[in-house]
């Protein structure tokens, strides 16, 4: 089921543990590592890795944390590597990566039994959907005039 090699999943899983640690020094180091070794050089691997954590991590708090982190990273802005225009990170990923990530996220939503994790996964999905459609698109129940209020 996993797209990423076990060693990458293992490294990410360890990093997630430290990111949730109560030790400020350790957590700060882990945040730097997250930024320098994952977000900047390989955001697609990171987002796929987080989805696979949502899918496969045994404890619910880690699945929940992975979903929250996924949403946070996906909404960061960075220059699009092809056009250099700043965009939300998820939209700067190549289309095949985006497709694989979002499809797996839908599978996570279907399979998840813990309500809290499911809500967080739903929030992540809603966020990606928002990036695709301009926020506040027509709600068929309201019409465009009222949504602008």
């Amino acid at each position: 089921m996993s797209v990423l090699p076990p060693e990458i999943q293992h490294a990410l899983s360890q990093l997630l543990n430290i990111l949730q640690s109560s030790d400020n020094v350790q957590r700060t180091q882990a945040e730097e590592q997250l930024s320098n070794e994952w977000v900047q050089p390989r955001p697609d691997v990171l987002l796929m890795g987080l989805v696979e954590q949502i899918q496969g991590a045994l404890d619910a708090p880690t699945r929940s944390y992975a979903a929250v982190l996924f949403r946070r990273i996906a909404t960061r802005t960075r220059p699009d590597p092809t056009t250099n225009v700043s965009k939300e990170l998820f939209l700067t990923l190549p289309q095949p990566s985006r497709h694989a990530i979002q499809q797996k996220l839908l599978l996570c939503l279907q399979a998840e039994n813990a309500a809290n994790v499911r809500n967080k996964t739903g929030d992540a999905i809603a966020e990606l959907a928002r990036q695709y459609t301009e926020e506040g698109g027509t709600n068929i129940f309201l019409g465009s005039e009222q949504t602008e209020c």
């Binding site: 939209l91 289309q95 979002q102 499809q103 839908l106 939503l109 279907q110 309500a115 499911r118 809500n119 739903g122 929030d123 999905i125 809603a126 966020e127 990606l128 959907a129 928002r130 990036q131 695709y132 459609t133 301009e134 926020e135 506040g136 698109g137 027509t138 709600n139 068929i140 129940f141 309201l142 465009s144 949504t147």
Partner: protein, 80 residues
């Protein structure tokens, strides 16, 4: 008018949410409407019928949380 930022769509999303809204699991049904409530832009004019049928069922759901989320999703200002 729905303005697209990228010109791309997430084709499978609406189908997956529709399916979740018909699930036997109340949590799945509730979550489908939570996502509609968070991102109303998912609902497009051309899918009006499918979405209306999902909402009609949602309003009559046996589970109160599902009815509540359906209400919020149908009119985001209902959000508490």
């Amino acid at each position: 008018m729905l303005i697209r930022r990228t010109g791309e769509q997430w084709q499978e999303l609406l189908g997956a949410l529709f399916q979740a809204s018909q699930s036997t699991d109340a949590g799945q049904r509730e979550n489908a409407f939570r996502i509609f409530a968070t991102t109303p832009g998912i609902i497009e004019k051309q899918h009006e019928e499918v979405v209306l049928s999902a909402f009609t069922k949602g309003f009559e759901d046996e589970d109160v949380s599902v009815r509540l989320e359906t209400s919020i999703a149908s009119h985001p200002s209902n959000k508490i």
